[in-house]
């Protein structure tokens, strides 16, 4: 199979959508001659023209709002929000407009659009350029939330997203952009709401998305040496959320850790834990634990970031706690 980087997958996914569907166009900052600050639209202006690949002023609310307006008229906008932190600048368009159009119009209007964004720590961009905010959007009915972890899924989930009759928040972690993975040619669409087991294990289940999946796998390797067998589930999408795959896994492992880089307080792990507990209480031999970041803004300095961010060390620690090999909380 072909090996490509994550960002190549994003690029191919978008290009294929532009090729196969006339209704698709892209808006964003630096997406034109620059080809995207992370190269997600490299060469697109040449290939598809600046009409369909629309570089634009810095104006997130109207970029997203215009996306909604174009979508209700039958287009399929892809809107790139350069850093996830900037969704805060366009929140009204996403929450009050995109997500509600279809419902409140009695299905007369639909706003199918893909809002692509990237976030996360690790590049020392500071507090206003490092957030992981997808959890907010679980709480916004009307919107799908997709967080791929590997190139194949980027392509497969993007295909489904661009055809969904609802808006989709498509979230990438920039630390993954240069990671590589195999892709089939072509990639089949992946349904939203279907998680996948990334690693089989018997003692504890770890559920995650995006970069945290890789960290969970690293933690699993580490724990393997201690004789602990960890199952790792990649949920792939947060709305819809595949609770069944987690429950099925728990019926074997009976222990759960939910990992995300987002701040733990108010993060989506709470949603998964609450559902698992409500629906699978009797399966649990230990309290489900969360491995999320501490409740602070993301600091600039490496040493500070390491002290608050959720990473493979924290995931490993939570796994041990879940097995009573360490004391919670810490």
């Amino acid at each position: 199979m072909r090996e490509i980087t994550f960002i190549e997958a994003v690029r191919e996914a978008q290009a294929e959508a532009l090729v196969s569907d006339d209704r698709v166009f892209i808006m964003g900052q630096e997406i034109g001659s620059y080809g995207g600050v992370f190269r997600a639209t490299q060469d697109f202006v040449r290939r598809f023209g600046d009409h369909r690949v629309r570089d634009m002023p810095i104006a997130e609310q109207s970029m997203l709002g215009a996306g909604v307006g174009a979508a209700v008229m039958g287009m399929r906008p892809i809107v790139e929000v350069m850093f996830m932190d900037f969704v805060a600048c366009g929140m009204d368009a996403i929450v009050n407009h995109a997500a509600k159009m279809r419902y409140m119009s009695g299905d007369q209007l639909r706003a199918p659009m893909v809002i692509r964004t990237q976030g996360g720590s690790g590049t020392h961009h500071g507090s206003q350029h490092s957030q992981t905010l997808e959890s907010w959007f679980l709480h916004v009915p009307g919107l799908a939330v997709v967080v791929p972890s590997v190139p194949q899924d980027v392509k497969g989930l993007f295909k489904t997203s661009v055809e969904l009759e609802h808006p989709v928040l498509f979230v990438e972690h920039r630390a993954l952009y240069r990671t590589t993975g195999p892709v089939t040619d072509p990639v089949a669409p992946i349904p939203l709401g279907e998680g996948v087991v990334r690693r089989r294990g018997e003692d504890v289940t770890v559920a995650a998305v995006g970069k945290s999946v890789h960290q969970a796998l690293a933690a699993a390797l580490e724990l393997e040496e201690e004789g602990v067998s960890v199952e790792v589930i990649d949920l792939r999408t947060l709305v819809p959320m595949d609770v069944e795959i987690v429950l099925e896994s728990l019926s074997r492992t009976h222990r759960l850790v939910v990992a995300h880089e987002a701040v733990e307080r108010g993060g989506w792990a709470g949603e998964l834990v609450a559902r698992v507990v409500a629906e699978g209480f009797d399966e649990l031999d230990a309290p489900p634990l969360r491995a999320g970041s501490k409740a602070t803004p993301i600091p600039f300095a490496r040493e500070l970031e390491a002290a608050m961010i959720s990473d493979e060390r924290l995931i490993a620690r939570r796994i041990r706690e879940s097995l009573d090999l360490a004391e919670y909380p810490a």
Binding site: P57, S62, A144
Partner: protein, 347 residues
């Protein structure tokens, strides 16, 4: 038409108050509109007026619930603008949107039923007074989030631009929208992309209790247009012919690919901001009375007095009265919204 074009091309068109006794008198051919068109415009204005009066009563009688924003006194604006549009052109609106929906051709029955929260309403009761939609008539959404209607229209105009579709998108907005950042973003985007959009600000003097003249230092909202490099025009929003002329020119300009226009239609909000508004806290009864002396329907009657028989207008009135009664009855007799639909259409 020449006058309309003149208005459009100048940001510095004289303020309404300086124009003497109104433009219609100066324009005997009534902007080239034929009798049928004149009657259509009248019908629209009269329908809006009757609709607001009837719904207000129904509300006071307890038949309706939820917030209610009357557009009484502002009828000439949707009537004049929509007369310049085709059915497949699209319109977006605000919390004060009944008039826009009606002027764009949406049907009274489903509008009423939506206000009543009935299954037969345009949105099956999910929308209500502030969220009427009739895609069939190009009425593609109200946004009571101030500034939202501009977003939607800009996006619709963008879709026309992308597909080479010779349609036009019109955003109705209140003067209050001008304070919002998205107003600026939207107009700027439409300008640099030369989108087929028309932004119609109904400056009714107030954003609820906040006077339009508190909101910015410039007297005319249309003066903002220059900053974005688009034409801005002030029109007398009581005079449907001025509105029509400005809209026609703006729509023609948009359709020709020459980009957007900002039209500021000066008017006055006859009613409180919403039903039950404590108006006395911010304006004198006297001010309202005076403004009501200048009635868009009366102005229309005067203007057409040499062209149309009173009986023709009376005929329209009678027909509209019946239509509205029918629509209200249709709504009242319709089944309630269906709870089984409550969980459909989201994700």
């Amino acid at each position: 038409m020449t006058e309309g074009a003149g208005l459009i091309s100048s940001v510095t068109s004289p303020p309404v108050s300086d124009r003497g006794d109104g433009s219609p008198e100066r324009d005997d051919d009534l902007h080239g509109l034929n009798d049928a068109q004149l009657l259509d415009i009248f019908k629209t204005m009269y329908t809006i007026r009757r609709f607001e009066v009837t719904m207000e009563r129904a509300h006071l009688a307890g038949d309706l619930y939820g917030p209610f924003h009357s557009s009484m006194g502002q009828e000439a604006i949707p009537a004049g603008v929509c007369a310049a549009l085709r059915t497949d052109d699209v319109v977006t609106s605000t919390h004060r949107g009944h008039g826009h929906a009606i002027a764009k051709g949406a049907e009274l029955g489903p509008i009423c039923a939506e206000l009543w929260g009935r299954a037969t309403g345009y949105c099956g009761g999910k929308g209500g007074s502030m969220h009427i939609v009739s895609t069939e008539h190009g009425f593609i959404g109200q946004s009571p989030i101030i500034g939202g209607s501009g977003l939607l229209a800009t996006g619709a105009a963008l879709s026309f631009d992308l597909t080479g579709d010779p349609r036009v998108a019109v955003a109705f907005m209140g003067d209050g929208a001008v304070g919002q950042g998205v107003f600026h973003e939207t107009l700027n985007l439409a300008a640099i992309w030369r989108l087929p959009a028309v932004f119609v600000v109904e400056n009714n003097g107030y954003a609820h209790s906040f006077r339009a003249d508190q909101m910015q230092l410039n007297p005319d909202i249309a003066s903002r247009a220059e900053g974005y490099g688009m034409p801005g025009v002030v029109v007398d929003g009581i005079d449907v012919f001025s509105v029509y002329a400005a809209a026609e020119a703006a729509v023609a300009r948009a359709r020709a690919g020459d980009g957007p226009t900002l039209i500021e239609a000066k008017c006055y909000r006859w009613r409180g901001h919403n039903l039950g508004d404590a108006e006395h806290l911010y304006r004198e009864r006297q001010e309202v009375e005076e403004a009501r002396g200048d009635d868009p329907l009366q102005r229309f009657r005067q203007a057409v007095s040499r062209r149309l028989e009173p009986a023709a207008l009376a005929g329209v009135e009678a027909a509209v009265d019946k239509e509205i009664d029918d629509a209200a009855r249709f709504a009242a007799e319709s089944p309630s919204a269906d709870p089984r639909t409550a969980l459909e259409g989201s994700y």
